[in-house]
Amino acid sequence: MSSTSPDPEFTGVVRWIDRRLPIFTMMHKEYKAFPVPKNLNYFWSFGALASITLIVMIATGIILAMQYQPNTALAFDSVERIMRDVNYGWLIRYIHMNGASMFFIVVYIHIFRGLYYGSYKEPRELLWILGVIILVLMMGAAFMGYVLPWGQMSLWGATVITNLFSAFPLVGEDLVTLLWGGFSVDNPTLNRFFALHYLLPFVILGVVVLHVAALHIPGSNNPTGIEPKGPQDTVNFHPFMTSKDMIGIGFYLLLFAALVFFAPNFLGHPDNYIPANPQVTPPHIVPEWYFLPYYAILRSFTDDWWVFLVVFSWWGVDAKLAGVLAMFGSLVVLALVPWLDTSRVKSARYRPIYKWAVALFVINFLILGWVGGKEAEEPYVTIAQLSTIYYFLHFLVFMPVIGWIERPKPLPSSISQSVLSPAE
């Protein structure tokens, strides 16, 4: 069987509405008859998982917002009130708290999937860039969300991160004052972060809609990286892909529930159960785990690091600004991947060298995350610096060069053929 899309026949009220506003036709086309390559593996479920997480976050967030008080004197206790006195408040709060972690787990895997199978390549460049924009917005939303419970890490994490903006020349100091709404992270900061934390997820939702719209023009990539040649290569999204996604959703829920019910604070930091106190600096300020790789890149830039001296110091950039630029740069290079990869072949399955490069990139990213959580001392500083170099080398050197020198394996002539006689 293959994908088919006979025009749906609606009757009654549905037909009446559909003639005037063809939402049912649209849903049919985009979510039922929509053809997807029939060889998709479970890595293709992570987009659906990310969408579900976004909805879960918005739903639990709105409920939390009904009880939460964005005031420095009340915020911490209002969260504890949710935990103790609101019916199932602990459930909602733990879902929201661990949902942020699930969101990043799912999205990171989603991104690595794209890197491995070349999903960023023509004609999916805009789709990819929209994805990177979602990642950046998620980081903003999660960062500001973490400030809301107003524990020690909320306050001090916010202080460290907002202070980074002071590194920018000329506007830096004013920018920080604007972020703070005053001269330190205080009540006005908490207020604006709450407003923005409420807003950003809906902006993300909007970009997700664009992301999906951009996906539905060329359709999904697949493990072979060869575009479908006809209906024999595809199946209908529903019920075939959806039935597969259900299994993915099951395992996702299993992990999510294990965290929420049995280890709700496993991924958090104990200091955030101490109310914020501007007079006491925690001995070791660390961001949430999902920021650690970027935090490691940021902290790599010390005054005496040769990369800093060679690349930045001579044009008047200090180490702090260099770290900030590198941190943002790490996301910019990710967005530029469609043009940094020079290979004609999409899927790493047929790319004997690039395949290993992606694996090493993932390992390196994990190392960055690990050192990002360590104190700034040896040997961690050196490891972080080497990993930072490797991060940028991967994108700026390995990606283009491997594309030029590598001899790809022969591609199957179509998806159907690859299913019958797999390459490996």
Binding site: E80, G182, K244, F261, Y273
Partner: protein, 259 residues
């Protein structure tokens, strides 16, 4: 003017402290990780040992409550320890809370009621510091969640005092040497003594026993929802496993049509 100078100096202080914390390695001396203990409330099926919770509550009331509050607890929450409404009323009534204004506009004191939050030992942090040689005893409600390896740490801290600091370690008159406190110099005198309390159920009140009971009690104040959370978790996990099985067979059935 004064306030803006104050804000500005706080801001500078914050920025400076943040930069230091960010740039330099944390200098605080490290304490060894607390040894891992067996707790009744550990693990996926763990529950609070109710008798231990009650004994821990007794030690808290008789020993710790003079310095440490449980600001997020209400007296009514004690029903989870197995106390009756009358017992809770009687317990609460020992404490006084400010209420009012009455019909003449006067504030007045009345005995605490089950609905009230635990009355704090000190009116404010200044008073607490003044009474404790400058150190403020932290609130204990969330203590086991607010430290790494919370329960093990609390037990290790309470049993980790040494009579004398090691040779060469300087302590001020208000400090005591503790193996597990970060930096070792803690401003809390060893709070527990053998037979410092007399348990109603006859359990011998060794320091270790008291520390274990307190840790159980304070783990409950930190996570009063834990038992409900875990048992809901069991049902949810079972449901999800069932869901996965159904999803698996559904997918197999559908995809079989394709080949």
């Amino acid at each position: 003017m004064l306030t803006s100078v104050k804000t500005l100096s706080t801001a500078l202080g914050l920025a400076l402290a943040a930069t230091l914390a960010w740039a330099g390695p944390a200098s605080a001396a490290k304490a060894p990780p607390p040894p891992s203990q067996n707790w009744s409330f550990e693990g996926v099926f763990g529950k609070f040992d109710r008798a231990a919770k009650q004994r821990g509550f007794q030690v808290y009331t008789e020993v710790c409550a003079s310095c440490h509050g449980l600001r997020l607890m209400s007296y009514r929450n004690l029903s989870a320890l197995g106390y009756t409404d009358d017992e809770i009323k009687a317990y609460a009534a020992q404490f006084e809370v400010q209420d009012g204004p009455d019909e003449f506009g006067e504030m007045f004191f009345r005995p605490a009621e089950p609905k009230d939050r635990f009355v704090e030992p000190f009116a404010n942090a200044r008073e607490a510091a003044a009474a404790n040689g400058g150190a403020v005893p932290p609130d204990l409600t969330l203590m086991t969640k607010a430290r790494k390896n919370g329960a093990d740490y609390l037990y290790a801290l309470l049993t980790g005092y040494r009579d004398e600091a090691p040779e060469g370690f300087e302590l001020s008159d208000t400090q005591y040497y503790n193996d597990f406190y970060p930096g070792h110099a803690i401003a809390m005198a060893p709070p527990l003594w053998p037979d410092g309390v007399e348990y109603a159920d006859g359990t011998p009140a060794t320091v270790e026993q008291q520390a274990r009971d307190l840790t159980t009690f304070l783990s409950w104040t930190a996570e009063p929802e834990m038992e409900e959370r875990k048992s809901m978790g069991h049902a949810v996990i079972l449901f999800i496993l069932f869901f996965i099985v159904v999803a698996y067979f559904n997918k197999r059935r559908l995809w079989a049509q394709l080949h």
